[in-house]
Amino acid sequence: MSKTMEPDLHEPSAGIPRPSPQKAWKHPSDHWVRGFILDNRASLGTLGVFIVMMAAFMIANPTVFTTWYLYRSVLTTLPVALFVVVPLVFVVTCGEIDLSFPATMGFASWVFSLVVQAGYDPFLGIVAALITGMLLGFLVGSLVVYGGLSSLIATLGMNFLLRGLIQIINEGKSMALTSLADSWAYTIFSSQLLGIPVQIFWAIAFVVLSAMLYNRHRFGAQVKVVGDNPDSAQQMGIDVKRVRVKVFVFVGIGAAIAGTFSVMINFTWWPTAGDGYLLPVLASVFVGGTPTWGGIGTVVGGAIGAVTVSFIQTGVVAAGLSGFYVQFFNGLIIILSLLGHKWNQARYR
């Protein structure tokens, strides 16, 4: 190979005029609406699915769907799901999955109930529940990350293990917490404000804070990079294992809040608390537009996904169909959403 074949290495693109700084970085789709749509297409797609679904319900039964009662019941139970859907978006973005959150919900709310039953202030119970959730999240995360286990199987195992522990100790007995109704904690976290269940305000605040964590904080940035390319993240000095454990701790915190809220709605703790949330919550994350492969996701989309999933059950029954249709419509919405997202987002490798 002779030298003549080599590029002129000594005189690089010196003659090419440099574009002025302002012009060089102008976005081709410079209209902000277009940019907004491109940046948020996953969550906007989910919103579209939700609007179409609600329109169908309203046409099917206009009288029921214009009464406030229906929405109030959804707004009471929806926040419980939101507190776990949002942290799960972080977990899935990080390239992991956590199936242990139902047991964490049960365990943390159990601790809350024990503290309240012992006569302490419910605020103390909430703090105890949060610490329990964090510890359980740390335990599950450490097991997965430092034990080098598959998060799918390990968290499934932890879900059975923790739930089993609750069942063994409580022997199936529930706990009634009638004293909650007079407490400050109940007024702040579980009453109504202008006829709207106050839980939804807390849940919205949680979603907004989490969305900011996801998009505007070092934590979210590192979660995305680790889920995208863990080897590169490590080469750039990110403590990949620590980031992974942190997302599980985050789920633990969310599950503790969710469990506590569900006890405050019912004034009762059941040993099965949290069990019913496993599949709807997972469905919400993916309906919301967070893909399974990690690296990207959307917190707001996940929240809209949770709203969609909550309305399917209520909506199908309220629309006059028998309860037997609920599962069918659940499945239909999930499949249609996934097809929509598949068409909507490209996967870069």
Partner: protein, 265 residues
């Protein structure tokens, strides 16, 4: 004599019974461009990964400015002023250019919140500096949409952001077009002119010969040759030497018997 920036002493690395590196010494002085050459499997990549803290050596010592380091890892390596452009570029392709440039070194303010605008500003400045400008992409474009050369530009922009003292380029011209290669070489000269050091790994000996002040040839986990530019007459000389290393006795070697002894297993 120039200040010794980094020194690897007697570095060995074995994976089970397989030796990737067997007692390698390598040093880089301030403002020096060192060309590291070797066949596939010679241990170049392992050596780079040890230098950048990604892989822990089985034995050996790392000295930064004459001081031995402890607890060496990727974060420490970057803190010490070593930036590596890896062969696979180490980019997160689903993220934006900004997120890749500040990967592991996010610009944060109060409580870890990102300084998003500052990051975008710095990223566009870096990309211009590197000369990888384009009207088609912005600092917020997704890296997966970029071409190979543009991705290399992002990796290089990340390496120069913090005025690193040593920039390690692992096969930076592989799979690049001629103009893109020229840009990389232009960049190497710029860095040297600014008084910083470069460790340039390549298997195209012509490329390495053109820019390096010193050559280190690695063969089967050992240093087969370490020579200043003045000692090597031409690129062909280096090629002959490497062929001799690969097939001992076949061609006339560059160096004397002392090195040949070291080569034997």
């Amino acid at each position: 004599m120039a200040e010794r920036l980094i020194e690897l002493r007697d570095i060995s690395k074995s994976y089970g019974h397989v030796y990737a590196l067997g007692g390698v010494n390598l040093s880089v002085d301030r403002g020096e461009v060192v060309g590291l050459i070797g066949d596939n499997g010679a241990g170049k990549s392992t050596l780079i990964k040890i230098l950048s803290g990604v892989v822990k050596p089985t034995s050996g010592e790392i000295l930064i400015r004459g001081k031995p380091v402890t607890g060496w890892n990727a974060a420490r390596s970057r803190e010490a002023g070593i930036e590596t452009v890896f062969q696979d570029r180490a980019l997160a392709v689903q993220q934006t250019i900004v997120r890749n440039i500040f990967m592991g070194r996010e610009l944060t303010g109060f409580l870890g919140w990102l300084k998003v605008n500052k990051e975008i500003e710095e990223a566009s400045r870096l990309m211009r500096e590197i000369g990888f400008t384009s009207k088609v992409f912005t600092p917020q474009s997704i890296v997966g949409q970029l071409s190979g050369g543009e991705r290399q530009g992002v990796a290089i922009a990340r390496a120069i952001y913090k005025q690193a003292e040593l920039i390690v380029l692992d096969e930076p011209t592989t799979a690049l077009s001629l103009t893109e290669t020229a840009k990389v070489f232009h960049f190497v000269r710029q860095v040297r002119a600014s008084g910083r050091s470069i460790l340039f790994i390549g298997h195209n000996i012509h490329h390495v010969f053109d820019i390096a002040d010193r050559f280190v040839v690695l063969d089967r986990g050992k240093v087969a040759l370490s020579a200043d530019r003045s000692e090597v007459k031409s690129a062909e000389h280096l090629i002959n030497f490497m062929e001799d290393v690969a097939h001992p006795g076949g061609l006339a070697g560059l160096h004397d018997a002392g090195d040949a002894e070291q080569r034997e297993r």
